[in-house]
Symmetry: C2
Subunit: 301 residues, 2 copies
């Protein structure tokens, strides 16, 4: 096999370092500067190491989504000009993927713009737990990776037979994935609106969760509103303890406080962003071995 090198974008230094340590793959650190007018500049040094090699470009799109977008294109374009054997782009968090359809007439589908523009510049793309599977439908060179089994395995150190719950039907594939991997039961929450009082309740579609522990799984926590609400409803339905596993823990504003207050026991996540929250409430689960297996599968092709 030809040699492999890792090239991190500016949000992904830590991710690339971890991956490099796990896999003994060399990292090429990009030269970068900001012009006085605000334009970004990058240059890939050690260009002789790129020619004929497999290049893994890794950049995550939070924070500074729009900067990350153009930097990904710049990195890919620069690498391509150096004649690599193959480019594999890892975008742990793909920004704008919640804008995956026209909700109101007059809107763009920004998730599609971002994804399709990036795909013009790479051979393969790996993304972690994209919000909308529809965005990558039919795109054979994009692979969506889920790490929920790794996160939920940690929950199993605390409680033996939890129910895996998706907060809505659209997230059901996440619950199904982990439940099948680990032999657990799963379900999703359905909203009921009382026709007379207007009161909204959320209940598991089929399972009885009374006196059971629950793991709510989802792709993203931004300000924490959705998961806090789901947690409260699940506890009102008689659940014993609530754990949360999410791929992308943005945790904006006081999301951590909100989740604690709602009654979440602990939050499990992975290192998918350019920021990391240091709080004993949050456990970051190692996933680099799994990621690398997938990279090698792709590289081998």
């Amino acid at each position: 096999m030809s040699s492999i090198v890792l090239i991190p974008g500016r949000n992904a230094y830590r991710l690339a370092e971890k991956l490099s340590l796990t896999t003994n793959t060399p990292v090429i650190n990009v030269q970068r500067k900001l012009f006085p007018d605000g334009e970004h500049y990058i240059r890939i040094p050690g260009t002789e190491k790129i020619k004929g090699s497999t290049v893994i470009v890794i950049e995550t799109m939070y924070p500074r989504q729009n900067d990350a977008f153009i930097e990904i294109l710049m990195l890919l374009d620069a690498v391509r000009r150096l004649s690599p054997r193959k480019i594999v782009l890892i975008v742990p968090y793909l920004a704008y993927s919640r804008q995956d359809k026209v909700f109101l007439e007059g809107e763009p589908i920004t998730g599609k713009i971002v994804l399709e523009t990036i795909l013009k510049y790479t051979d393969h793309m790996l993304v972690y737990d994209i919000h909308s599977l529809k965005l990558i439908e039919g795109k054979s060179n994009v692979k969506n990776l889920l790490f929920f089994d790794l996160m939920v395995s940690k929950v199993l150190e605390k409680t033996r037979n939890p129910v895996i719950l998706a907060p809505d039907k659209g997230a059901l594939h996440r619950a199904k994935f982990v439940a099948e991997k680990l032999g657990l039961e799963y379900d999703y929450l359905v909203k009921h609106r009382d026709r007379i009082t207007g009161e909204v309740t959320m209940e598991p579609k089929t399972l009885d969760i009374k006196d059971r522990d629950v793991v709510i799984v989802d792709d993203i926590i931004s300000t924490g509103g959705t998961i806090a609400k789901a947690t409260r409803r699940v506890l009102e339905s008689g659940a014993r303890g609530v754990y949360v596993a999410v791929t992308h823990a943005l945790l904006i504003n006081n999301a951590i406080g909100k989740l604690k207050k709602a009654g979440v026991e602990k939050l499990y996540t992975i290192d998918s962003l350019g920021i990391r929250h240091e709080d004993s409430f949050i456990e970051y689960v190692d996933y680099y071995g799994r990621l690398w297996e997938t990279v090698l599968e792709i590289v081998g092709r």
Copy 2:
């Protein structure tokens, strides 16, 4: 002819308003918000006005180049989904167009990335005085507009027969354009390095500028270094007065002070950016009539 509407991006409200007033064209104001995590959102209201119409999207890429880049794509994508007759995109200032080739091995050509990505989403594109003509070579749906004759006409109110000078050979097409329009002489500055002292001088290639007024024309002033240096050299060569005409007056840091100190009499520019400098040293020249003529030519096709 079908109806025409103007849609400004967030850097181009003032430009769109001026164009609208000059031409009696209605403006559709985009709904926009910023999500708590930093993602941008836009929506085009009054969607019934778009169907079958010619839509002029106008957005300039300074300041916040990277935000403007994705917003242009969002606007164009949203418009396209509403079935317009034709989309004409006006990008007065195209960011990254100075990154027009690989200067050092390992660099991307960001100007090409930006331009080619945008072109996938529009039918026609107008840009003012692109830094590098090479970027748009062979692209029949991109038109580069120069307004130097309008700016230099203002200089002619002050001095009768100035020499038009490009600061280097790459900018010569600008000097030639205005000189031929207005019947003036033109030339460009050549660097000479003294082989013994190492001292660098800049002199006009062929013309004698002693005791003559000079108009230096260029596409952009960022921090003002290039133009300040050219001005000093031209004055050292015996020129009488130095005027400057540039399309894109970014004027970062203390550029205005630098130009004044170097001896520039006055700076002529146009409204091509999302910012405007209020200073009696700078005159903004009206160009909206000329712009609209070009738009109508394209729309008529």
